[in-house]
């Protein structure tokens, strides 16, 4: 591509409006992706700080640094921010926005202005949650699940953060609608469905979950607000309402939501592995369909969050069976990734190391999920640290680690700069060791009976709690090193080439950073997404 064209149109420096407005009012999908990235990193660090404080509090039984009520708000806000503001929008909002149009050979998403609106809704939702901290009554203390009847009785500020969650849901729905339409309408000529990169497939499946599941939690949240304001009785047992129904409606969304969180991450993995194994992905169609089947089966497993809430044995067994079924497509993906590496020409660069870490941690998270999915073992570990550990292995070890992997993989493309790879690699053992010290001890604690969300504990748990807390320090050190390295690269990194890794999807054919309209001329696609037969000859010289 001619460099003059790229220089003049670089999306980072291009000015459409004066000053900061050319970012805040931009409908360019790449800029919106970066707006999300910046706001999300901020929220991420706020939530990391809250989690860090929680672990510090757990260093000793009884009070260490905060009192019990503060601890309640700490875990509520940590959960709310991490889930609603970081992991759910996470990969789709940042990398999806940035790379979905480029990977299918389009100039932008189908509804660019709607896309910008989604970001504003995201910010407004986040502000609602934050403003509620400073109002009379104190910050919300219900846990991120907002279970009734407590959430309609507590005197803390519940309505504002709930409204925030509703608005965030709206933002998520609009992004979903946008992505589905984009995939259907804006693929480049020759880009058939089965030539789409697997990241696009994953985003497509995710978008469907966003569209189909989110409205249900939306109305549930609205009903809690209505209940608090008007006392209609629908969720209030004193007036004949049934709190279990709230749990059903909440999990009808919130279980599929974990697939909103993990599916895009799986898509990123399917991008990174072929690039660094120099091999086409093993089982392309199977991976594509496994995304869709996860999206589909994921709807019918929600009640496994409620095995001890009061349900008939029949429905518990059905939901348990379905839970085992949904593990199958995830397993299929893991085997396909490993099979792709087999006999590949592996180049162990930073993004791939994060992916390796993901496969290890996610497998532990997935397998312990089966412990929770089967009825008898679930009853033993329900509401203990075991659940907390499982959740963090799949969500942090899964999604967040892949968000970091994606950040390292696409950083040169997004910013046109290279980071220091040695430092990036050095951060991984810190993160890995810290992570496992922090969360693996929680499996043991949970198995021994340590309940989640407790502010204090029996003295015999203390050794494990100390190991866990020290782990949190190592983990945070690793995260600081990793983000510090990327920020340093942003300021002082060397310029990146168009295709530093030898990737073959379309984003590696446009300059780094991409021009405003992505492609000078819309490409015509003639082969599948991971065809290394032509590029291997070319990149040999470069590498």
């Amino acid at each position: 591509m001619n460099s003059n064209f790229a220089m003049m149109n670089n999306y980072l420096t291009y000015k459409s409006k004066p000053g900061i407005l050319s970012w805040l009012l931009s409908t360019d999908h790449k800029r919106i992706g970066l707006l999300y990235l910046v706001s999300m990193v901020v929220f991420f660090w706020v939530a990391v700080t809250l989690g860090f404080l929680m672990k510090l509090e757990m260093l000793t039984p009884g009070k260490t640094i905060v009192d019990a009520q503060t601890y309640n708000t700490l875990f509520t806000l940590h959960g709310m921010i991490m889930i609603f503001l970081f992991i759910i929008p996470g990969i789709p909002a940042v990398f999806g926005n940035f790379f979905l149009p480029i990977q299918i050979g389009a100039h932008d998403v189908a509804f660019p202005r709607l896309n910008l609106l989604s970001w504003y809704l995201y910010i407004i939702g986040g502000l609602f949650a934050i403003v509620s901290l400073f109002l009379q009554g104190g910050p919300i203390d219900t846990g991120w699940t907002f279970y009734v009847p407590y959430s309609i009785r507590t005197t803390t500020n519940v309505i504002l953060p709930l409204l925030g969650a509703f608005i965030l849901g709206f933002s998520s729905i609009l992004t979903g609608i946008n992505f589905i339409t984009t995939v259907h309408r804006l693929r480049a000529p020759g880009m058939t469905f089965f030539r789409m990169p697997l990241f696009v497939w994953a985003l497509y499946a995710t978008a469907w979950i966003q569209v189909v599941a989110t409205p249900v939690v939306g109305i549930t949240i609205v009903m809690v607000i209505v209940e608090r304001v008007f006392h209609v009785g629908i969720f209030d047992p004193a007036l004949g309402g049934d709190p279990i129904l709230f749990q059903h409606l909440f999990w009808i969304y919130s279980h599929p939501a974990v697939y909103i969180m993990i599916l895009p991450a799986m898509g990123v993995v399917s991008e990174i592995i072929p690039t660094f194994a120099r091999r086409t992905i093993f089982g392309y169609k199977v991976i594509a369909f496994s995304s869709l089947s996860i999206a589909l089966i994921g709807y019918f497993v929600w009640a496994h969050h409620m095995f001890t809430s009061g349900m008939s044995d029949t429905s518990r067994m059905v939901f348990s069976l379905l839970t085992f079924l949904v593990a199958v497509p995830s397993g299929v993906k893991v085997f396909n990734w490993v099979a792709t590496l087999y006999k590949g020409s592996i180049e162990l660069r930073a993004p791939l190391i994060y992916v390796m870490m993901f496969i290890f941690l996610f497998s532990i998270g997935g397998l312990t999920g089966l412990v929770l999915g089967s009825l008898s073992t679930d009853i033993h570990v329900t509401d203990t640290y075991f659940v907390v550990a499982h959740f963090h292995y799949v969500m942090f070890g899964g999604t967040a680690i892949i968000l970091f992997a994606g950040l390292h993989y696409w950083f040169p493309k997004m910013f046109g700069k290279m980071y220091n790879e040695k430092v990036a690699i050095w951060a991984t053992p810190l993160i890995f060791i810290g992570f496992n010290m922090l969360y693996f001890t929680m499996f043991i604690l949970g198995y021994l009976g340590m309940p989640r969300r407790y502010w204090s504990y029996l003295p015999e748990y203390q050794t494990l709690h100390i190991i866990s807390t020290v782990g949190s320090w190592i983990l945070v050190a690793g995260l600081v090193l990793m983000f510090g390295n990327l920020i340093h690269a942003l300021l002082k990194g060397k310029p990146a080439e168009t295709n530093p890794w030898g990737g073959v999807t379309l984003e590696w054919t446009v300059p780094s950073p991409p021009p405003v309209e992505n492609f000078e001329k819309i490409p015509v696609v003639e082969n599948g997404p991971y065809d290394f037969s032509t590029i291997n000859g070319e990149t040999n010289g470069k590498n």
Partner: protein
């Protein structure tokens, strides 16, 4: 979806567009099929939004069947029926308004759109009288008279106010949207060549109508 694309190759559209305007931020491509896909997806989410409430209604109706039957008889069947007729007719005038602009009959289209708006207003006025009448009889959320009734009746009216309230909110949003459409029609921004906005608003209005078609029997008719 594949079929749609065979009919209208987007690639041509896209490249032409770019040639005309190099700047992505300001280029406007009209993809009517895309706009419709987006609208249908949005309507789907609306159905699911109400779906949560319909699910609650079903669960509570099974739990409190008798109370629901008794409480349902207190609703004003006449007002409910009149409102159903009004809303159904408004859907007809909405469709006629679109049909008119497709044939280039701007004035007729405006006329039908105004009548749709008037019907929507009439619906809200009747709804207002219906609710306030109930309030006067002490059937309001958290009112002592209602709280003295059995739990099932409290829940029935809780569902009634929540569902018809959310529906009324949608009517209000529809009113606002339709007023904008009227403005666009008057300004010729909706015309016989470009009426996708009006069509999509029509789809939304039919959804509002459709939801009422389910609310009406659930609350007023089945005893």
């Amino acid at each position: 979806m594949e079929k749609i694309e065979l009919r209208e190759p987007i690639s041509a559209n896209q490249t032409n567009d770019l040639a005309v305007n190099q700047v992505a931020e300001t280029h406007h491509h009209k993809d009517e099929v895309g706009a419709k896909i987006g609208m249908w997806l949005f309507l789907f989410t609306e159905l699911l939004l109400f779906g949560g409430l319909f699910l609650l209604y079903m669960a509570y109706r099974l739990q409190y069947t008798n109370d629901f039957i008794i409480a349902g008889q207190e609703l004003n069947l006449v007002m409910g029926t009149v409102n159903t007729i009004i809303l159904l007719t408004s859907s007809l005038t909405m469709a006629l308004s679109i049909a008119a602009i497709q044939r280039g009959k701007k004035n007729l289209s405006i006329l039908f759109l105004i009548s749709t708006i008037l019907f929507a207003l009439a619906f809200l006025v009747i709804k207002y009288f219906e609710w306030t009448e109930k309030f006067h009889h002490g059937i309001a959320p958290n009112a002592p008279e209602l709280l003295s009734k059995p739990n099932g009746e409290i829940i029935f009216f809780g569902m009634y106010y929540s569902m018809t309230g959310l529906h009324a909110l949608h009517v209000v949003i529809g009113l606002i949207v339709l007023s904008f459409m009227l403005f666009f029609l008057l300004r010729n921004r909706i015309n016989e060549n470009d009426y996708i906005k009006l069509e999509n608003s029509g789809l939304y209005w039919h959804l509002v109508d459709l939801i009422w078609i389910f609310l009406f029997p659930l609350f007023y008719l089945i005893h």
